[in-house]
Symmetry: C5
Subunit: 358 residues, 5 copies
């Protein structure tokens, strides 16, 4: 969580609109792929330089330019120049710690999303994905090569579903939908961990549990931070008045919006569950401690009086005087003492049983 603050504080003092790559430093050349299609035809190509993409802009077909890797700022800047992007858009693409957001700049719509990944132990990680939706093109920027868009590439290639029949707005929808769908996968994993946790919690609470609850809590705080602005973003896209989004795409966007609401609902449910877990943990702990206390009390209170009796007859009073500890010289003094002890102990046990202490 802190990381992103560290990165943002790096950009303090810079000219607004200065693109700064604040992610991990990387060497390899970003991969640029272009898919250009209309209902009838399809062209796919792996571009070596960014300039190869520009001619597609003039064509009447839908063009999807995907850039995997944003660590080479010159590529983003060249695209920015070619597609007439606002300097702040360019900055936001490079500066990978943005909140999900929607910006309508008239000749294009700029969308920033988080792509999440989750590994048990490592926690939730977010990668920024940015989209430029223009009249007949979509440009997508990913921090790393991911496989979440493969399905859509496939659909375009095989002309499966509706994607080839619609314009660039539907393509943008399909890409965002792929990302939101991926959230379900993440949520399932976290949900499973929560469920496992809960079972262990009641049966066997231990300090390690506390740390896991704490970590889960942090992760859900992180998730909420990603997910809430997502809703707003999709809502803007659906309700926005941009001419770039056609009326028949809005039905799909409304569906997408419903999905984001469902994601939020689930995150909130997880939050309630995890915050309930701490209560349960503390209660279980109290229960256990209570049980321990009871046993201590029971044993202590049974033995304290009879130990006293034993101590009593260990006194060394001079038994020559008849008033001094005559019991010691009784014929059945020892037996009497045992009887006394057993009576006392039994009384205690019965008292506890009555009080339902064990």
């Amino acid at each position: 969580m802190l990381k992103f603050i560290k990165k943002l504080s790096k950009t303090a003092g810079l000219v607004p609109g200065t693109p700064v790559h604040i992610g991990e430093e990387r060497r390899e050349r970003p991969r640029i792929t272009v898919i250009d299609y209309d209902p009838a035809q399809l062209e796919e190509k792996q571009a070596l330089s960014v300039e190869e993409c520009f001619p597609f802009k003039e064509k009447n077909t839908v063009t999807w330019i995907n850039i995997d890797g944003i660590h080479q700022l010159d590529i983003i800047e060249k695209i920015g120049a070619a597609f007439d992007l606002h300097p702040l858009t360019i900055e936001d693409i490079a500066n990978t710690e943005q909140r999900p957001k929607y910006e309508d700049l008239e000749h294009y719509i700029f969308i920033v999303l988080n792509m999440l990944s989750y590994e048990k132990g490592a926690g939730v990680k977010a990668e920024q994905v940015s989209f430029i939706l223009g009249k007949n093109y979509v440009i997508s920027f990913q921090e790393q090569e991911g496989d979440v868009f493969n399905e859509i590439r496939d659909r375009i290639r095989r002309n499966k579903g509706r994607v080839r029949k619609h314009g660039s707005d539907y393509l943008a929808y399909a890409l965002i939908d792929a990302i939101v769908d991926n959230y379900y996968v993440i949520l399932e994993k976290i949900g499973e961990e929560i469920e496992d946790m809960e079972e262990e919690l009641i049966s066997n609470p231990d300090p390690a549990t506390l740390q896991i609850i704490h970590r889960l809590k942090q992760e859900i705080i992180f998730l909420r931070k990603s997910v809430w602005p997502l809703r707003e973003t999709v809502s803007h896209l659906e309700r926005g008045e941009s001419k770039l989004v056609q009326k028949n795409t809005r039905v799909y966007l409304r569906d997408l919006y419903d999905h984001t609401i469902q994601v939020i609902d689930t995150v909130e449910t997880f939050r309630d569950m995890v915050s309930g877990m701490l209560d349960i943990y503390l209660s279980s702990l109290s229960n256990k401690m209570n049980e321990v206390m009871k046993v201590l009390t029971m044993i202590a209170t049974i033995f304290i009086p009879i130990t006293f009796i034993a101590g009593l007859y260990g006194m060394n009073f001079n038994t020559a005087f008849p008033w001094n500890m005559p019991e010691l010289n009784w014929k059945f003094g020892y037996v009497f003492t045992w009887g006394l002890m057993i009576t006392v102990a039994a009384t205690m046990v019965i008292f506890f049983k009555k009080k339902r202490w064990f």
Copy 2:
């Protein structure tokens, strides 16, 4: 709760609008029933194939097609084609983990609701019910055959109430009303369990109580998730501008809306009550522990000093020296010691009584 996430994550990566049945796999043929009526006449029939329903569409009467079982996607798809349903509608009918929602697609209104059932022990279960409200027809999809609509079937057959005199919008209202009424039954059962719980809570808190509270909490989290969007759905239906809903039906819808508010109120009240229960549980536990502690303290503090006295006169100092334990050779040493012990113990008891510790 998790189940639905698991199911949704299955649909990730699919073409939007692909219907996927994500409920339980089932074999038997879905049951299709048609009721067609106007104030004067009534036709009821059990359809063997979905195609048998289509002729009714053309008639001027109100047609209610009910499909029990959505696991055979071809049926839903055929209906979708015949009634011109949007692909996303078809997907949402099949994909049974939707939030309650309302969608106005002009030539029809699509409504998704949850039908709840509750069994003590098994908890709250939700089944999706979808409605298509068209100009002169209502199509309802249930996951399983249920008996919640029987009452309405009966009313139509016997021409009881207003249902035969109104159009398809009133029928849709009556069906939704039946579902919401059913919520009261569920809430009553949960409410009874909460009340039982509360009585036990104060009189006899034990670790099992904790688990029940935890389960109740989870169930109420689940209920809230179903119930809140329900309100929005009904509100859209009432306030929506669709021409499919006539003005005189809106009075009924407002009444329905009041009912959903009442359901929400009750769920929120339950939530307050259950969250208060944990506090009470912990307080009761503290109380009990406190009582245990007091008894321990009392017994320990009474016996510790007198055990010391007993130990004292068990020492083996050489009583030949006059300064060494002369008490042992006193004539009434033993009696004196008893007196001392009783004095100490009595002082303790009085001290505790004064402090109101028991």
Copy 3:
């Protein structure tokens, strides 16, 4: 709280608009009283049958029909027919577990309120009061004969205040105002109980306190449920666009609205106070337990070491060997031992004093 759910679940499955009396079964004939007035004249009568009230409707005067008892559905139905009430209105009058609500049906306004009563021990009870406000009449339905409207009857009879000079809308206002004023009386009683509680809480927390706090909490949950929708109801009445409410009555309604806000404020304040009480209770308990623990610790830690010393010199080593317990044969061994014990105990006491443990 549960009761009302039980009752509502009874109505599940019925035709909407079916009046069902779900309150207590009662035998006696509902009392029907009519007061008819204008600034100049007054007619008051106890009607034997409901039909006697209908002629007043035609007159130009203001007519107030009050029905005490709604368990005889035929009366409500006859009134419904005579005054052209919507079936749902009739249902809501009979079905006494409605939330406070306002419904504008053009030719009349329908208002449902809760009349509260409170008895220490028995808790808050709510009775439903419904109003029909028409052009020149007000019909009020009470579950039982109450005395809250007597004051208004009196004012009408004696031509006190403004009621005779205004129309039916002012009468409706006066009746609602009487109910809201009655809330202050309830709140005062609850407030007194809370104050009493608070004093006892700090001075003498015991498990019974916990139950009372719990009960107060439940009552305030119940109160909130009654009071929040009340605000909405009065607000609708004031801001509604009905022609039945005249402009100069709105000033009074705004005042009434302020009163409901004040009632809500007070209930919220009570809620804060009661929820603070549990914290205080638990803290007081912790304090007490702490004190008990300290005494135990003090006594135990003082006596444990000196009991050990006593035990030490109770050992039976053969003192024939000079290295074995030579203290036993010292001339002042016993005195020395006492000195040792007192030193140890005093050290302990000083240590505790320093640590401020007592």
Copy 4:
């Protein structure tokens, strides 16, 4: 807090618009002062009877009538008649337990505020101040003579600031501003008490602290109740469309609004601080108890085993048998026993040190 409920419940059942003085009964004649001014001239007078004020109404100057004491209802009623006040306004002036409120009655604006005073120990007290803002006059009603308006009187007399140059709306603003400024003084005092509390809290938590926290909490609940509606009142005044408030006064009202927001912010901050204090208190208590427990454990666990050893060699087995307690007849048995005891105790201490228990 309860007091005001008690008072309000007194008014239940009365004709709306009946002025009832519900504050403390008082004897002395309310003081009536009139200040009449325009930029050029000033007239100030102490009126013996309320009728003396009425001529000023006709003049073109700004007139400020201040009434200290509202326990004589005839005065309020006479003013009401002379200035054409609504009966509900008169009732609200007399009935001193109103929430702050703003009411626009076209020919005048009616404002109710709370003037707060605070004394350590006695807590926050509120006094009602009401204003009637007319075209060329302001009438202010105070429960008691206060000194908060002296500063403004002085400014008018000396023609300091802008007050003489503006109309009655600016005068009303100045008066309200004086009251809000006074809130800062109250907040400072409470703030100081909170700060003092906090320091003591961590260093030396004791049960008395709990009571003070509880009292502070109550006071802040009370403050919030006064302060939140204040904001609404000032906001209405600024944004209201009354012609009585001129455009150039609105800048001042916006400033006043900012001040009320700042007051609310501070009260909310205090609330957060006080509610945090209880957590800290309980944590400190836990810490202390923990420390006590550790010492008990330490001493007990060190002495329990060695006391056992001492007890062991206090047994009276017949040492004539060689297997019975041969240690007693060892030459260095006693020394050996001491060695054993020291070893055991040291092991314990080391074990605790390792576990970091002390």
Copy 5:
């Protein structure tokens, strides 16, 4: 936090619009710097008297007047007169405890912000910065000389970025942006402290931790108070209808708005984290105490029974009677006793192991 209340209460009773410097008293002359530029030329000057700045106002270029130090009221008043500022604006500049705010006074926009600084130990400190944005000038007031604007000065001088090409509105944006960027630096520092805290929390909770958590909580309360109104301020600036803000600057302001949202998000996240920390702290404490309790119980319950046995055979019954303690005269009595003790202790240990108490 309290300081500002103390200061504000100083201003109570003053004429509104009276500038009062309520910050630290300072001696030195405030530094006045002027930068005047258009795309083509640049003039920079350190003014000795405030009058030197006024001629720039008439020029067609953008003028930035920066005043470091607001403790000399005459300077502010002179500027106020020259630039026709409202008296309340002048008061707000001098009175340094304002909330961030935006005020549109038509011929200029007045903005108040907090500049934060943070030092570990000393906590967050806020300094007020005020801006006057006029048609062709920006006047900025700082309490102390700061270095946060140096970067912008540098950009203007070197004609770096867009600042020279735009008007005064862009300059104002750039200055506010510099302040908001600085928030990231503060947040990073606090975030680091929180992270450090968290690690220590679980591994080694001690009472000092509690104080640090408490301090962090206070700081975040303080931060929230600064940050929330900031958002509103920037939002007003962006959405305000002032002609002073040009359309192409609004894109930048929207970006700035996104940044403030991100700052708020982070503060809220910190808040969640810190409030979670207290729970964790208390849980860790409970865990530790639990562990201590277990050891005590274990040792006590093992030794209590065997100490009793030792005490038993320390009794002095007259063994001349065959029923009195015959064990003492058994040949292997001692060995038997040891066996008994070991059996009892082992049983205890096994019992505890089974219960998983250690």
